[in-house]
Structures are given as structure tokens and as C-alpha cells.
């Protein structure tokens, strides 16, 4: 087998491809968080719970109402987005003048409530959502089997991510949004209904989470904790990308997926082993680093990256210094 450090070229290719698939999930979730942070200055801890709601609504629709996947893809984000707008109007709104800390704590509490209610109703084991007929199966690329559904996930999330980026960075509506982050009073003076804009923005960010949830439903087990498993990682993506930076969150999300793929392949750990293990002292010095970059540590990879990025570039890769 030809390969680098115990991983075949094909194997690496497969890992990168899979990494891209995961990356697009991170991207779409962190994009929602970034939009919300940009305008509301709130870290939306409930994002994971809202993602879970999206997936569950799709499942409920299918199970009880006969709503198919495509309708779910449309309806679930709309419903969850509307729910988000209610939260914004009812609760978040009262916190804008306070320390950012309170927004974080409130949404943290909301996440617990939502998750608890779903747990109570649906139990912990979760439910299974089948892949829609049209996207079932896959294609054998020789080095790996590529499920059609994952290709669809990548395509759909890239379209949504870059569409959102385009609207925010290149249109008049987007320019209002950006102005709103800089100087809401001035924008209000120009006759823009800023509170409404904030509500809609939060709704959109939340709807993005739900959209990701519906995309995820056929891949992952739909269960009440699926979001809280993911949310801290996505947080880290937003921080690395630069809080509130749209492009930063997209690029970092995808990039992290790719890096995770490489770490999970075990290539880096193997490389460090082959380079240092025979050297007596260096081997034991490198050991903890190797541990942090081994496949089983892939869940920590993002935090290592985050610590490094924050020390070198405090505002994140794409963030602006203020």
C-alpha cells in the first residue's frame, strides 16, 4: 500500500471528502451564530437546541402528519424561526442594554428547558429518520462509497451559506444589517425599523439552525441531545473565525471539518510517532502533543486550534480589531 504515514492516498482523500461534509454542517451552524452575534451581540447558546428542534419537527411531521422531507426542509425552519422570534420579542429584547454575559446565560437556560421538554416527551434513545428515496444510495468512487445524500448536504449548505453571505455583503438589505451592527441609532434615524430588523435577524439565524437540523436528521440519530453535543464545537468555530464575521464562520467551519478529517485519519499521530518515538527525550516531550492530535482526540482538535488562534490573533482569523 502506497501511502503517507500509514494512511493511503485514497484513504486520505476519503477522509478529506468526509471532512468537507462535516465542515458544511459546522459552517451552516456557525453562520447562524455569527449573524446573531453580529447584530444582537448575543452568544446564542440555544442554537444547538434549535438545531435539534429542526430535526425533531421533521421527524414529527413525517411520523404523524405525513409531511415529506422536502416540505420539512421548508416548514421546519419556518416554524423554528418563528419560535425564535417569539423568544427574541419576549425575552432577549430585555437584555440588550446589559452585559453580553446575560444573553449567554439566558439562552443557556432556554437550551436546557427545550432539551428537557423534548427529553420528557421523546426519551433519550432517539428516533430514526429515513433518507428520502430520491437521495438514497450512492456512488462508488473507487476509493470510497459516496452517499448521494451527503453530496446533497454539501451542496445545499454551500448554497445557503454563500447566498446568505451575498445578501449581507452585497445587497442594500445587507448594508442595513451591517449599519445596524455599527450604529443602530443612526439607522433608526434613517427610518429603518431596527427592532423589527433585529427580530427578523434572530429568526433567520435560528431558522438556519433548524435547516441544518433537517439536513442532519437522516444522517444522525434524531435525539434530544444531538444539539448540545455539537454546540460547543460550533462556538469554537465562531470564535476562531472571528466573532460576527460571516465569511470567517463559513471558511472556518469548512476548514475545521477538513482538519478534523485529517486528525481522525490518524495521519498526524503516525507522523509524530515515526519522527520522534525513537528519540528518547523528544519522544516523551512530544507525547502529550501526539495525544492531542490522535483520532480519539478529534473532539478536542478545535479547542487546540482555538487556543492557538486566540493567542496569535485575538480577534479571530477574519475578525476586525475594535
Amino acid at each position: 500500500m502506497t501511502g503517507i504515514f500509514g494512511v493511503s492516498i485514497q484513504g486520505l482523500f476519503g477522509q478529506l471528502l468526509v471532512g468537507l461534509l462535516n465542515g458544511s454542517f459546522y459552517a451552516i451552524l456557525s453562520l447562524g451564530l455569527a449573524i446573531i452575534f453580529g447584530l444582537l451581540n448575543i452568544i446564542n447558546f440555544a442554537h444547538g437546541a434549535q438545531y435539534m428542534m429542526g430535526a425533531f419537527l421533521a421527524w414529527i411531521g413525517m411520523r404523524y402528519l405525513g409531511v415529506n422531507y422536502w416540505w420539512a426542509l421548508l416548514l421546519s425552519p419556518l416554524l423554528v424561526g418563528a419560535f425564535g422570534m417569539l423568544l427574541e420579542r419576549g425575552m432577549l429584547k430585555k437584555l440588550y442594554k446589559l452585559d453580553h454575559l446575560y444573553g449567554l446565560l439566558l439562552t443557556f437556560g432556554l437550551a436546557l428547558i427545550i432539551e428537557g421538554l423534548f427529553r420528557y416527551r421523546f426519551g433519550i434513545s432517539g428516533e430514526s429518520y429515513p433518507v428520502t428515496e430520491l437521495l438514497a444510495g450512492g456512488k462508488n468512487l473507487g476509493f470510497m462509497f459516496l452517499p448521494k445524500y451527503r453530496v446533497w448536504v454539501v451542496a445545499a449548505s454551500l448554497v445557503v451559506c454563500f447566498g446568505t453571505w451575498f445578501v449581507i455583503e452585497r445587497t442594500k438589505l445587507g448594508s442595513y444589517l451591517r449599519a445596524g451592527t455599527e450604529n443602530p441609532q443612526l439607522l433608526q434615524a434613517f427610518g429603518v425599523n431596527v427592532p423589527l430588523m433585529i427580530t427578523l435577524t434572530y429568526g433567520y439565524g435560528v431558522a438556519l439552525a433548524a435547516f441544518a437540523g433537517v439536513l442532519a436528521a437522516p444522517i444522525f440519530n434524531v435525539n434530544p441531545v444531538m444539539g448540545s453535543n455539537l454546540i460547543i464545537v460550533v462556538f469554537a468555530v465562531v470564535v476562531v473565525g472571528g466573532m460576527g464575521s460571516i465569511m470567517g464562520s463559513i471558511v472556518t467551519g469548512i476548514g475545521l471539518g477538513l482538519i478534523e478529517g485529517i486528525v481522525k485519519s490518524g495521519m498526524i499521530a503516525n507522523l509524530l510517532s515515526s519522527a520522534f518515538d525513537s528519540v528518547p527525550v523528544a519522544g516523551s516531550i512530544v507525547y502529550p502533543i501526539k495525544l492531542l492530535l490522535s483520532p480519539e482526540a478529534s473532539a478536542v482538535t478545535i479547542f487546540v486550534i482555538m487556543a492557538i488562534v486566540l493567542l496569535v490573533r485575538p480577534a479571530g482569523l477574519f475578525g476586525r480589531e475594535r
Binding site: V300, M306, A307, P314
Partner: protein
């Protein structure tokens, strides 16, 4: 009532309640409250008095627990040596994490502490001496100074109380010290504190290490109480719990975190039957605290008494 008098009354209540507690409630339960109250007070030193929200404080609680457990169980030292070792390790870890984290402030500070604590969690899962998922079980309480058998619940309780009181006193004194004045100034207006010639990073780091050490003291003691060190104490949920205790009791109040710890631990203990609702109720408390009750229990009471 003037604040000073109020503090004296609170101290009196604290000592009396602390001495009487094992005769009123189940001693182990009271010990758990003391440990977590000390933890919350140490955390409050940062959040309430320096304005730093650490989302990774479980790392200090848990690491100290493991080190103490290992020192006592495997290396066979006496309990007081174990506690010292745990506290010292937490302080050292606090120095490392603190030096990295205090370079940034606000939400970034919270995120860095969370990230570094996640790494500590991962290490705890991996290192052979922690027992991984099963934890470090059956840590002996041993004999204090080789004489007093700590297996006796009352002896153990008063030993814990004898750790809590000075620990809490250090926090109280720190808050009301020249150093505490500077911390408050940093919390209130950091750039101004800099422009008055204070190296705020050094002050923040000192406060961070102090807070980490005292959290470690709490974790070390907790390990002896339960004879167990487990992943629970390094998990980020524990970091969230300590935020809740502080917020609920009243951040930036001296006695608030103690009240918060009593409420939260009681809920945990006596509410053990509610099952799924546990999470919903916890979430609801968070929401209510943030929306309507930001001063916390002690903060609101203080306002009430002032009127």
C-alpha cells in the same frame, strides 16, 4: 442596617449554622454544600469582583480532586498532605490557564477558559491514574495528623468546616483588602485602572490563581468527603453549575454564592425524583434569574434591608 453590621450578623449566622448543621441535616449533605459553597465563593472572586467569567472552573475543582485522591490512595499520604497537594496543583494549573486566558477579556476570556478546561477534561479521561470513566474510587479518608479517624461523620464534618471557614475567610478578606480594591476598580473600569498605573494583567492573574487554588481546595476536600474523584467534577457542566450557584445567590455579594450553593445542592439532592424535569427546572431558574432576578437572592435581600 449599615453594611458592616449586616456582615457581622451574616458571619455569626454562618458560624452558628455551620456548627449546628450536622445535627440538623444529613452530615454528608452538609459537607457537600460546604465544598461547593467554597467553590462558588472562589469563582465569585473572579466573576463578581474582578468581572471575569471563567467557563472552565471545573478544571481546578476536578484536577485537585484527582491529585488528592491519588496522593492519599496510591501514594498513601495523610489526608492533610493530600489536600495540600491538590490545592497546590490547582494553583499551578490556574497559573498556566490564567496566563493564557487573561490576555483577552469578555466573551473571549470565557471561551478560552472553556477551551483549556476541555483539554483538561480530555486529559483526565486519558491519563491512567484518573481511572477514566470509572473515576478514582475508594479513596480512604485516613487519619488527620495520624490521629483523628475521619471515617466518623462528625469528625469529618468538622474537619470540612475547619477547611471551609478559613477558605471563605481568605476570600472575604481578599475582597476587603487593598488588593480587592484594585480588583473592583478593574471590574468597574479597566482602562482607567491601567491609566492609574496598575498592571491589570498581574492583578487579574493573581486573582485567577487565588481563585483556582481555592477551587482546588474545595475539590480536594470534596474528594475526601465522597472518597471519590470522577469526571463529573472536570466536566463543563460543573463549570455551568458554579455559574448558576453564583448567579442565583447573587454575584458580587460576599455571602451570595453560599446561598446559591445551598439551594442548588438541595435541589440536586432532594429533587432526585423528578427525573426529566430536573433539566427543565434548572433552565427555568436560569431564565428567571437573568430576566427578573439579576441581583440574586442575597443581592435582592440586601436591597430590601437597605430600604
Amino acid at each position: 442596617m449599615p453594611p458592616l453590621k449586616m456582615n457581622a450578623v451574616a458571619w455569626g449566622l454562618l458560624v452558628v449554622a455551620g456548627l449546628a448543621a450536622p445535627f440538623l441535616v444529613y452530615p454528608v449533605f452538609a459537607m457537600k454544600i460546604l465544598c461547593l459553597a467554597l467553590f462558588a465563593c472562589a469563582f465569585n472572586l473572579l466573576l463578581g469582583y474582578t468581572g471575569l467569567l471563567s467557563f472552565g472552573h471545573a478544571a481546578f475543582l476536578g484536577t485537585a480532586g484527582y491529585v488528592t485522591g491519588h496522593t492519599v490512595k496510591v501514594l498513601g499520604f495523610q489526608p492533610e498532605i493530600g489536600i495540600l497537594a491538590g490545592t497546590a496543583t490547582a494553583a499551578a494549573l490556574g497559573y498556566v490557564i490564567g496566563s493564557l486566558a487573561i490576555r483577552r477579556s469578555g466573551i473571549y476570556f470565557a471561551m478560552i477558559t472553556l477551551a483549556l478546561a476541555q483539554m483538561v477534561y480530555f486529559m483526565s479521561l486519558q491519563m491512567p491514574f484518573t481511572g477514566g470513566e470509572d473515576g478514582l474510587q475508594g479513596v480512604p479518608r485516613g487519619k488527620l495528623f495520624g490521629m483523628i479517624d475521619l471515617l466518623h461523620p462528625l469528625y469529618m464534618y468538622y474537619f470540612v468546616f475547619a477547611i471551609f471557614l478559613p477558605g471563605f475567610w481568605v476570600i472575604y478578606r481578599t475582597i476587603h483588602s487593598p488588593f480587592g480594591q484594585v480588583l473592583k476598580a478593574i471590574r468597574e473600569n479597566e482602562p482607567r485602572a491601567i491609566s492609574l498605573g496598575y498592571d491589570v494583567e498581574k492583578y487579574k492573574l493573581t486573582a485567577f490563581v487565588l481563585s483556582a487554588a481555592l477551587s482546588g481546595l474545595a475539590g480536594a476536600t470534596k474528594t475526601l468527603v465522597f472518597q471519590l474523584a470522577s469526571l463529573t467534577d472536570v466536566h463543563w457542566h460543573m463549570s455551568g453549575e458554579v455559574v448558576l450557584m453564583t448567579l442565583l445567590g447573587g454575584m458580587g455579594t460576599v455571602f451570595g454564592p453560599i446561598v446559591g450553593a445551598i439551594v442548588v445542592v438541595s435541589l440536586q439532592n432532594y429533587g432526585a425524583n423528578i427525573g426529566e424535569w430536573v433539566i427543565v427546572i434548572t433552565g427555568t431558574i436560569f431564565v428567571i434569574c437573568v430576566l427578573a432576578f439579576r441581583r440574586g437572592i442575597v443581592g435582592e435581600l440586601a436591597i430590601l434591608f437597605k430600604r
